[in-house]
Amino acid sequence: MSTTYYFAIVGTNDSPLYEAEFGAHQDESKYLNQFILHAALDLVDDAQFMTNACYLKTVDRYNDWNVSAYVTPSNTRLMLLHENKMEETIRSFFVDAHELYLKTMLNPFYEPNTPIQSQTFDSKINGLAKKYLL
């Protein structure tokens, strides 16, 4: 079974900081993915005040797609679009991705809330995806 995932980091002003697709690529769905995630942001805003945890589990559904979200304490949102349900794996993926994001934040050359262009970050996120999702 070939599944695809779409992962994005959304900054505090709702602008995307980073995006990546894992698994079988479907180019035509790229804009749709962004659209679904963007639509889910409002639901994230609602959900984040219902719990103390960073991991909000699945916040939205669109056809076959589930949207999972993870909100960092600084209100940056990590979002993942996926087809199958697997809460625990996605939680570990988010926790590790959060740590990578933190490392990026600690780099003095990185301006908060700007797109993440680091190659290292990109390859490490892809490594995480291989480890947990694919």
Binding site: K103, L106, N107, P108, F109
Partner: protein
């Protein structure tokens, strides 16, 4: 024998004689300093130069401090100087001891190989900075230059390799230009 002795002096001073400051505080302070310089000068060459100047001003002051703490005698030759810089200087202020390598034939040039540079922690250079030749830790060159100049040695110090630019190790090259005469007063920059 001598080398071992300096190593011991350095470690002893590090353990007992130095006030320590939180490493992250230090690293982030240095990081934001460099980034601010990059923003202000918008030219990486100028930033390198500025860092070197700052280091120089630090070095001319630090040298007295370290001599007072450790009570090291005058170095007999440049080899000993290299030992002291690496084993005592770096150990006391940064808790690292770079290896000394690549002596030139006339014994006036050597390299300090830094396997681990605390200033580099958390830092990742943007590709543009790598291309245009920013030496992130260039302040170290200035420190060495300033300190040695106070000891009547005029030197040139520069980075040859840096881990942050994709090299395996960081390497600082130190070249003795000449021994200054004792009576020449050394001016602050």
């Amino acid at each position: 024998m001598a080398a071992k002795q300096y190593k011991a002096i350095g470690e002893e001073a590090w353990k007992n004689n130095v006030e320590k400051v939180n490493a992250e505080l230090f690293i982030f302070t240095y990081g934001s300093l460099v980034v601010q310089l990059v923003k202000d000068f918008e030219d990486y060459g100028a930033v390198n130069k500025q860092l070197d100047k700052m280091g120089y001003n630090i070095g001319v002051r630090l040298i007295d401090d370290i001599l007072a703490r450790t009570g090291i005698d005058k170095c007999a030759d440049f080899h000993t100087t290299a030992e002291v810089v690496a084993k005592v200087g770096f150990r006391v202020f940064l808790n690292i001891a770079p290896a000394i390598a690549n002596w030139s034939a006339d014994a006036k040039e050597f390299s300090l190989i830094l396997e681990d540079n605390p200033l580099n922690d958390f830092c990742e250079l943007p590709p543009k900075a790598v291309q245009e030749g920013l030496w992130y830790s260039n302040v170290l060159c200035g420190v060495i230059r300033g300190a040695l100049e106070m000891m009547q040695m005029q030197t040139e110090v520069w980075f040859v390799h840096d881990v942050l630019r994709g090299d395996d190790v960081s390497e600082i090259r130190v070249k003795l230009v000449k021994i200054l005469d004792e009576e020449v007063p050394v001016g602050d920059e």
